[in-house]
Amino acid sequence: MSLNDILDSLFPAGHAVNVENKVITGEATTAQGTVAVLGTTDAAAIDHAMALALSAFILDTVEQHPGRALVFLVDTSGQALSRSQELLCLNGSLAHLAQCVDLARRQGHASLSLVTANAVSGGFLSFGLMADRAYALADAQVRVMDLRAMSRVTKIAHERLVELAAGSPIFAPGAESYVRMGAIEAIWPEPSAGLLEAALAAGGLAAPASDQRQNSGLLRGGRQLAAGITKTVQNAACGA
């Protein structure tokens, strides 16, 4: 599905969005008012320039449109893989972007992300997973690594990984795993203005004061241990 089709379906009341170097920036009209629309398209491999274009747009929005909701469209194949990018500390630019999303939240901007096609590792961490809530379209690819590459790195037979993946959201690629693990709120069968409005309304009513993903993962049966261990560490008697 083309970006324009996605935008038309999500924002039938109108959108004005610019795409440059695979980076989306702009705004759109919804029943909740004008929202900022930003993100990446065409399976962007996030590099310094992309990360800095997104962070600059977030800072502009915080300064010029206090409280305006942020809608992230996520289509990233991960981070750019090159020596020149690493030379300038690519993790630093991705951290800066993540920090800008975090600042917007602290300044009262609700945010949601929608994975439209691909969401992979570092690219996903830097903005999609920083939003208050994440959603994914039904055919979206969400993963750290595909099972063949994982098999090469871990030296575990591909067949064995495929077999285990069938029952384990812990490492099976796919948006459904991320729902069960608590990181994605829901899967949308198609880009839909109605679903977006509902998600924005839910976000506006109850902006999460804290990160609820461990609890969601526990309730949905995908992540059985994390919530309990974090609570134990938080509450354990210690020291002096």
Partner: protein, 300 residues
Amino acid sequence: MIASLAARHSWFEATARARLAGLLDPGSFSEILPPAESNPSPHLALLDLPGAFDDGVVVCYGQLGKRPIFAIAQEGQFMGGAVGEIHGAKIVGMLRRAAQEKPAAVLFLIDSGGVRLHEANAGLIAISEIMRAVLDARAAGVPVIALVGGSCGAFGGMGIVAKLCSAIVISEEGRLALSGPEVIETVAGVEEFDSKDRALVWRVTGGKHRYLMGDCAMLVEDDIAAFRSGATEFLAGWSEPVPSVAHLRAGQQTLENRLAAYASYRDGLQVWAALGVAEPESVPLLDRDALVALKEGLPT
């Protein structure tokens, strides 16, 4: 010189527990969820892989110069310090506790390749939770100091986490980046990045380069006592800023400026020359004190 070398206790070669023993005030280490009270990762067991009772990370309460601090220490010798479900949840718990109890600091001894692939989704989501929790602790006024000098460096999502901390204290042996050189070589070819060229790897990801560029606040010797005094010295002069647009605007400008100036470079030697280092090829040979003096003499 020989006596001081003999007294040195390498951070790079030490285990996470040995680093903590030398970092914190003697006798102050108090572990939370010690191995006797926890279980190895069931996800590794499912793959017939050996686990560790602490799942490769030690979280503790302690003191630094008699001030109460929390510490998180990743064990690079277990699964490359990589983040799985339990490992990540322990770190998140300690950071959230810090936001509530407000110790003088959290010392985050990072030694990790990032996500543990055997628990890939759990690891990625945990790193996202760690990112949020680091920023929450900092917003509560608690400095989070990353200490990087272990054999696994700070890579992948843990490279991002390191850069979200208040500051990074790194040794020459420390490495900090996103994708590992091996990954780049596999995907983009040996011409792009020869991961076996150790000198090149250090000129691109190593502690001296990150310090010269300003990505790390302090460069210290590969010595546990040096990390201790570095962290102490940094904290003495630091008060955690309130998150603000102005602060991030300044960061944005710095990153845009250096991208405009250095985007075409592929080797630390080029960056160092552009920074004003008269003899960039001498940088790898300089000892820590000489390099710090060089950095302090550079035009700003």
